[in-house]
């Protein structure tokens, strides 16, 4: 833990800018994710608000130098509130030709391109599909191109440590980081500390990396840098005071689940089967054993869901987690939890589908699956995560609803949120009101399906409790006693009460508010999940230009907030941007009979602010 003071004051004449978008791109072996997270940490310490977007290849060890092996990390940081990782790049650091060819299109006109000319060998050029060297043929004239032979300079910088050439080149990313640190007047100490901790016991490697970073920095300071490469100053953002850390969606959801379990007074049984991008949740929880967390890597997703249900039946908090294809496998078991009215939290880290789809690319196309995707009339609350840090509160809320209403709850997050990070004002666990579970122990008038008048929840009995032995199961059960029942009237009654119980959650959640703008007006832009950042920024920008538009962002997908129909009805038009082909739009049309319009894309990437602004303009003008 280190607490570091404000930014280094630039000695030289740095250009003042409000924010910047930087992307490090290189081979998957080039350490771009580490470089990006170090830059993120340092930007956070410098007091900026920020958002990041890691983008890595699906292949574990893609052949070096190929376009499908390119790994990139993007960060948007600034002196103002940062809502997205940025539409266009101010700076692209390209460690090889493949990184250049796959990322160049995202660079702003006249943006800065820093390329490791040492990696632009004939072989690498051919692998990337270049006929000639783009650094030499004038094709990059529209950009501010900076060619530096980082390969050679790194090897020179680490010579004294006697590493092999291959090992030496591993520090190339730190050389690039050092140079970009210099551009933005960053302190290097946090990265020095981090490298020393990471390579504790491997002094040579740690020192080589530090030397490479220092060399990159010194190169900026001393070399006759081309005029293209500016130096910049970004003021700290106005941020609420307090203790901060960066947090990814996987971290926030796992911490929220733990916090939720403590608020409920339960131990977690987290049962899962590895799948991208959901595995990181399993990895996080597996490291929380000291809190009594049981993690179970099951033989498949069905077993994971089934074991979580068994754990809930036994009186612990059963949680299961997966991505779209695995969630599909869990659905029959989720139906069992709905039928037997047991608490269960299901986390779905969505990815592009159908089928295997694009495992590492983000999408929000499992809303139908979450709300509708089971056999029989099988309603279940569904809530969604909007930003990397939001997962903490959402996970707590999922535990609260699941245990209070004796129901499975699905949490929808996605690949983008799972891996993206942002600064987080660290809460105290005591900030949330506890909702301790009261297990039924009283045998007086006990019936397993006798409901609470208020919540319609049935009692939760732990096996092991004297005198309350009973049987539950997936066969339709008699309204109070829970005995098997094929009685038609009873099935009607049970179906109705299951639906009423879930719809009743709407009375126990906040009314929907606008994230930006007034309630009522010309246009409401309605989103859910990870589109929060771009929609919010686009609507704010349009309002700054005097347009009548508001942003409404849903956490609760099912049941919908009780005032939502009225709220949406107070707008002339409703636009629903989604990274799917229109799933929330369908739900809203169905529930409120309003002509909601979709704005959809499924290219595996988050919305750009610009494309949303255009869509808003279009709706307001036509």
């Amino acid at each position: 833990m280190s607490e570091v003071a404000a930014v280094e004051r630039p000695e030289d004449d740095r250009t003042e800018i409000e924010s910047a978008v930087v992307r490090f791109a290189g081979d998957s072996g080039d350490g771009m994710q580490l470089t990006g997270s170090q830059f993120t940490m340092t930007a956070a310490i410098a007091g900026h608000d920020l958002a990041t977007f890691p983008d890595f290849p699906a292949e574990i060890r893609a052949p070096a130098g190929t376009t499908f092996g390119v790994s990139a990390f993007q960060i948007n940081f600034g002196a103002r509130k940062i809502m997205t990782s940025g539409d266009q790049l101010d700076v692209l650091v390209a460690m090889n030709p493949a990184a250049l060819i796959t990322n160049l299109a995202d660079v702003k006109p006249h943006g800065i391109v820093i390329a490791d000319s040492g990696a632009f060998t004939d072989r690498n050029l051919a692998k990337a599909g270049y006929d000639e060297n783009p650094l030499e043929n004038g094709s990059l004239d529209d950009y501010r191109l900076v060619k530096i032979d980082m390969t050679r300079l790194t090897v020179e910088a680490v010579k004294e440590f006697g590493l092999s050439n291959k090992e030496a080149l591993r520090s190339k990313n730190m050389w690039a980081l050092g140079l970009v640190y210099w551009m933005y007047g960053r302190k290097r100490q946090a990265s020095v500390d981090w490298l020393q901790a990471k390579f504790a016991g491997k002094e040579d490697i740690a020192n080589a990396n530090i030397a490479a970073m220092n060399a990159g920095h010194a190169f900026g300071e001393t070399a006759e840098m081309p005029a293209e490469l500016g130096t910049f100053e970004v003021e700290p953002a106005k941020i609420e005071p307090g203790l901060y850390r960066t947090i990814t969606g996987a971290e926030s959801v796992s911490l929220g689940l733990l916090a939720g379990s403590q608020l409920a007074g339960l131990k977690i049984s987290f049962c899962s089967y590895p799948i991208t991008p959901a595995s990181s949740l399993l990895h996080q929880l597996a490291r929380m054993k000291e809190f009594g967390v049981v993690t179970f890597q099951a033989e498949d997703e069905i077993a994971a869901a089934a074991a979580a249900i068994g754990a809930s039946y036994a009186g612990s908090l059963g949680i299961t987690s997966s991505s779209g294809p695995g969630i599909a496998l869990k659905m029959e078991a989720i139906g069992l939890a709905i039928a037997t009215e047991l608490p269960l939290v299901i986390v779905n880290s969505q990815r592009a589908g159908p089928s295997t789809g694009m495992p590492t690319k983000t999408e929000q196309s499992d809303l139908y699956q979450a709300v509708y995707g089971r056999n029989g009339d099988a309603p279940m609350p569904v809530i969604s995560v909007s930003t990397p840090s939001d997962g903490y509160e959402v996970a707590i809320e999922a535990v609260r609803i699941a245990t209070k209403y004796m129901t499975p709850v699905m949490v929808l997050t996605d690949g983008y949120i799972t891996n993206a990070s942002e600064p987080w004002l660290i809460p105290e666990s005591g900030d949330n009101d506890p909702f301790e579970v009261q297990f039924r122990t009283d045998p007086e008038n006990f019936q397993p399906f006798m409901r609470d008048d208020d919540t319609l929840a049935r009692p939760w009995v732990k096996p092991g409790t004297p005198d309350l032995m009973h049987r539950i199961g997936g066969i339709e059960r008699s309204y109070d006693s829970g005995h098997i029942s094929y009685d038609p009237e009873n099935h009607q009654k049970m179906t109705d009460v299951r639906a009423a119980k879930v719809l009743g959650v709407a009375n126990d959640i906040p009314e929907q508010e606008c994230s930006v703008g007034e309630a009522g007006g010309k246009l409401a832009v309605v989103g859910w999940g990870s589109t929060y950042g771009p929609i919010n920024r686009a609507v704010s920008n349009m309002r700054d230009e005097g347009l009548d538009v508001s942003h409404i962002h849903l956490r609760y997908i099912w049941p919908l907030p009780r005032n939502l129909g009225e709220l949406l009805g107070s707008f002339d038009k409703v636009l629903v941007p989604e990274m799917n082909t229109g799933q929330l739009k369908t739900l809203l049309r169905d529930q409120y009979l309003l002509p909601a319009e979709g704005f959809n894309k499924v290219n595996g990437k988050p919305f750009l602010i610009g494309e949303l602004e255009d869509a808003i303009l279009d709706r307001l003008e036509n």
Binding site: A306, Y313, I426
Partner: protein, 341 residues
């Protein structure tokens, strides 16, 4: 629900619920139900700490008839649900009940993993070599040639041997009994209960409606002594009406052979002695089939090994000790943090 904490020992019938049992008259499941209730009475099992978990099928109706905790889940998944129960609360005695379709077809994967992990469960497979509940289709344990609604010309695929499967996936307790062996069954079930780890018990069960007589070639009174061998640890592997037949180990060919005492100079010293810790022997016993061999019943294999849930909880306990006091506020602040003034 109406059983009060008992002042004295419970009888078998105290483990029965007030629910009407809905199996076909004459179904072997009745006898197994009785056998299990007898076993629990003999074990003085505490109903409140006993959980029966099942999948779907005729056999899987079982929990409704037991005055214990019970969970009738979904087809094939009972070993996974039961694993979750046991992990969440290792103090519970968890029994898993299912049919051959439930546990070896749709749920074969879960059965395999519960067994190989050695979760402390009693897994009772009611093998009637047929899908009873769905009206008589052949199952993965049906003999080749089984005529059923889905195989009118006879089934053509090889059946799986449940006991060999369990041995093959590293099971630590594998036993066999039959619905009609009312003395034998509770003894086997008691051993299963006492075993720490996954106890897999295959119980041959007659489906009187869809597969009547599937086991009569070794269960009929007239031939049962010749066609069954009840194995016991440390005892010579003898069978037959006067225990005049036995199994000898042909060491050259590494297989069992049937011999008769007094014939060809065979004496009791030539007869192999059952060693339930010998997986190779257990496998040979599990492979035996009439008419050339008797069917081996009893505890074929038992080996002491750590249970999965105890290992899981000892890691958790150790992590707790190492951490001192686990404080979520510390966890929230782990890693690099910074203060904004």
């Amino acid at each position: 629900m109406n059983v009060q904490s008992p002042p004295e020992k419970l009888k078998a019938r105290d483990y029965a619920t007030d629910q009407e049992v809905r199996w076909c008259p004459g179904c072997g499941d009745y006898a197994i139900l009785k056998g299990v209730q007898n076993t629990l009475a003999q074990l003085e099992a505490d109903p409140k700490n006993t959980v029966f978990v099942s999948g779907i099928g005729c056999a899987a109706r079982f929990p409704y008839y037991m005055e214990t905790y019970g969970f009738h889940t979904i087809h094939g998944r009972s070993p996974a649900v039961a694993s979750g129960v046991k992990l969440a609360n290792p103090e519970l005695d968890v029994w898993v009940v299912g049919g051959d379709g439930d546990m070896l077809s749709i749920g074969g994967n879960h059965t395999m993993h519960a067994i190989r992990r050695n979760v402390d469960l009693q897994i009772l497979l009611f093998n009637n070599q047929i899908y009873g509940l769905t009206k008589g289709q052949y199952s993965p344990t049906s003999k080749i040639g089984t005529k059923s609604p889905s195989t009118p010309l006879g089934s053509i695929d090889n059946p799986v041997s449940a006991a060999q499967f369990a041995l093959g996936v590293g099971g630590t307790f594998i036993a066999r009994s039959s619905d009609i062996l009312q003395k034998h069954l509770p003894e086997v079930l008691k051993r299963a209960y006492q075993h720490k780890g996954a106890s897999f018990v295959e119980i041959f069960q007659n489906c009187i409606v869809y597969n009547d007589g599937a086991f009569k070639h070794f269960t009929e009174k007239a031939i049962q002594d010749e066609m069954q061998i009840h194995v016991e640890h440390d005892q010579p592997l003898l069978f037959g009406e006067d225990k005049q037949k036995g199994l000898i180990l042909n060491k050259e060919e590494m297989r069992l052979e049937v011999a008769t005492l007094g014939e060809n100079g065979v004496t009791i010293d030539d007869i192999a002695v059952h060693d339930e810790t010998n997986r190779g022997l257990a496998t040979m016993l599990a492979q035996m089939d009439p008419p050339n061999f008797p069917v081996a019943l009893g505890v074929l294999y038992a080996e002491a090994a750590p249970t999965y849930e105890s290992a899981v909880h000892s890691q958790i306990d150790q992590a707790g000790k190492d951490a001192g006091e686990a404080d979520i506020n510390k966890l929230l602040r782990r890693g690099q943090t910074w203060t904004v003034e």
